[in-house]
């Protein structure tokens, strides 16, 4: 006897060559394939692109960090696919934006030759578009960006390199950057560095025309007093660093970001932001945001100074809103036979407690035993046949073990299936 439903979570990659099976005979399946060979060769690419274009993303999490910002030219967390429009209102008027990303798994069928990452992590390419702007009544420019991120990610951590061709108020903003994120329980930590490759001249309001220019700017473009009390500022070699944390609890999301930017001829700029979102519906969130920014060039940051805003964010296809069916903290599950009728389930997760429940236990929760740091083990009596099994971490919701087949549990959730021969 051995369990067939073994599986491993955590984004492991496997070779995708078809298994050798000399007994396999082309039979009735051919009746389903009438397309010419050329179509067969092209159809995977077409199918995937069409599928991405029309299918609702399962976990769209593109979150607008601001009303439009050079530090937000690309998402700063795990790679996702999705479309997210949002609107907000603050003391100056309203703003709007829309962001969309498409994440392609380079370890998938289209890019199997490009896999060079460790087996526990997968390279992904994420392309995105992002546009935002304040009310037409405001003077701040529209911001738009096309971005690409090359991402190596597992379920709990990832790192990326990114580039973006952004534009704001007619200025081109070529950006490159990199960052990393780490998920610990319900908290995700992110840090990124963004470098502005271009050079632009921006005009900032000047309270007093007699203000002295900083010494290091005078020799190039400097702060030139204008007739309209505006200063023309040369911005180049600007580098920003930002760290962020987000915490998810049921329908609530709490996010914070702080950052600083330094550049040639540009005084240090800094910003901080707090944001809370409430997902009233699976694809609709109400959010409130408080933001403070200083010395950020207007072309890079349409919202300057302090801002308090409330808004609505949409995320079509974000999920059903039903009970969770996966716990991203659980990274791997393995089913091993100890002896006839006794099996042990080993899983890796960050938790204080892990419980396993199954029809084999009369659906009585069995506490898993900690094997080591983040490793847990539960021993179950499994007779030949099909067994339904579920687990929960830290007393949370019962979910199926990742990596094994699942089915609906008739009570609003899902359970795992283990087949014992």
């Amino acid at each position: 006897m051995k369990p067939l439903a073994m599986g491993r979570g955590g984004g492991t990659m496997e070779a995708m060559s078809p298994p050798a099976d000399p007994d396999r005979a082309p039979s009735a399946s051919h009746a389903l394939s009438a397309a010419p060979p050329r179509m067969t060769r092209l159809s995977p690419l077409a199918l995937v692109l069409i599928a991405f274009a029309i299918a609702a993303p399962a976990h769209a999490q593109f979150v607008p960090s601001a009303s439009g910002s050079w530090m937000s030219a690309w998402p700063n967390g795990p790679p996702t696919s999705g479309l997210t429009p949002w609107v907000w209102v603050d003391q100056h008027g309203f703003g709007y934006g829309v962001g969309g990303t498409l994440a392609l798994d380079l370890g998938g069928p289209l890019f199997s030759d490009l896999r060079h990452a460790p087996t526990s992590e997968r390279p992904r390419l994420e392309v995105g578009a992002f546009g935002a702007g304040p009310s037409p009544r405001q003077a701040a420019p529209l911001f738009g960006a096309l971005s690409t991120r090359l991402h190596v990610a597992s379920d709990t951590r990832g790192a990326w390199l990114a580039s973006s061709g952004a534009a704001a108020g007619g200025e081109n903003l070529p950006l490159v950057g990199g960052g990393a994120w780490l998920k610990h329980g319900q908290i995700t930590f992110t840090m990124q560095v963004v470098h502005f490759l271009g050079r632009m001249r921006v005009v900032q309001p000047q309270a007093s025309a007699s203000r002295q220019a900083p010494a290091d700017t005078e020799s190039t473009t400097g702060l030139v007093p204008s007739e309209t009390s505006e200063l023309s500022v040369d911005v180049r070699l600007l580098t920003g660093a930002e760290t962020a944390a987000s915490w998810t609890l049921q329908r609530l999301e709490l996010q914070s970001r702080v950052g600083i930017a330094v550049g040639v001829h540009q005084p240090p700029a800094h910003w901080g932001e707090m944001r809370v979102s409430y997902w009233a519906r699976p694809s609709l969130a109400l959010f409130a945001r408080a933001r403070s920014a200083a010395e950020v060039p207007a072309a890079l940051e349409p919202v300057r100074g302090n801002q308090a805003a409330v808004g609505i964010q949409l995320a079509p296809g974000r999920g059903s809103g039903g009970p969770p069916t996966r716990d991203s903290r659980v990274q791997g599950v393995k089913v091993e036979r100890l002896e006839p009728l006794r099996y042990r389930i080993v899983l890796r997760t960050v938790a204080r407690s892990v419980e396993v429940s199954s029809d084999a236990t009369g659906w009585t929760a069995v506490a898993a035993r900690r094997l080591g740091l983040n490793w847990w083990e539960a021993v179950l009596p499994l007779t030949p046949g099909i067994h339904r099994i579920a687990m929960r971490v830290d007393g949370g919701v019962w979910i199926p073990q990742p990596g094994i087949p699942t089915t609906l549990d008739e009570f609003g959730g899902q359970v795992g299936l283990i087949v014992v021969e």
Binding site: A25, D105, D359, W363, G385, L408, V419
Partner: protein, 223 residues
Amino acid sequence: MKATRSRTRWRWAMAAFVLFLLADDVRAANDPRLDARLDPETAGAVGQVVEKAREKGLPVDPLVARALEGASRQVPGPRIVAAVQNLAAELEMARESLGLGSTAAELVAGAAALAAGVRPDTLARLRAARGTGSVVVPLVVLTDLATRRVPVETASAAVLAATRSRVRDRDLMRLRERIDKDIMAGASPGAATILRTRTLIGPFQGPSGTTQPAPGRTPRSGP
């Protein structure tokens, strides 16, 4: 001599009567697990469903387990009874589709597939494709794909095609894992299923007909 034979007959008759009473009592008694975990009303209702299933020759352990599962989820009694009734009906339908000689595991797997929206005739086709071999794993894979929002017709066509191509159970499980990973990576469930099945067995275009679940048999997702 005659009196001795009469006494013997009388004793046998009494013993048979006592056995009959005991057997009837055993039949009427609920599974003690039900009595221990459910309120009396729910336990009684579930017990009736279990008893009817037993009379029909259906496996009853899955029914008891489903009731216990509901109790562990702390759902109301009527929902538990309804879930057990649904499972009993699905077990019966699975037996009609898979055949009287099906094992309990096959019936349980078939019932799960039906609950996920798979058509009964798909079960029959899987049985025909596998012959005397077990259809447990194909049904489990099919159920899993349907649960992961692969269109039921696409999932059915993929598993049927793989089964007809004599793909082994272990490779079917591997196919499921790869489709799952593609879906988690953001791929469309249907497209991922078609692509991975094609990788496994060669030419495969997916279902030629509708991609909707069978009429009147939509997958249940709970309240």
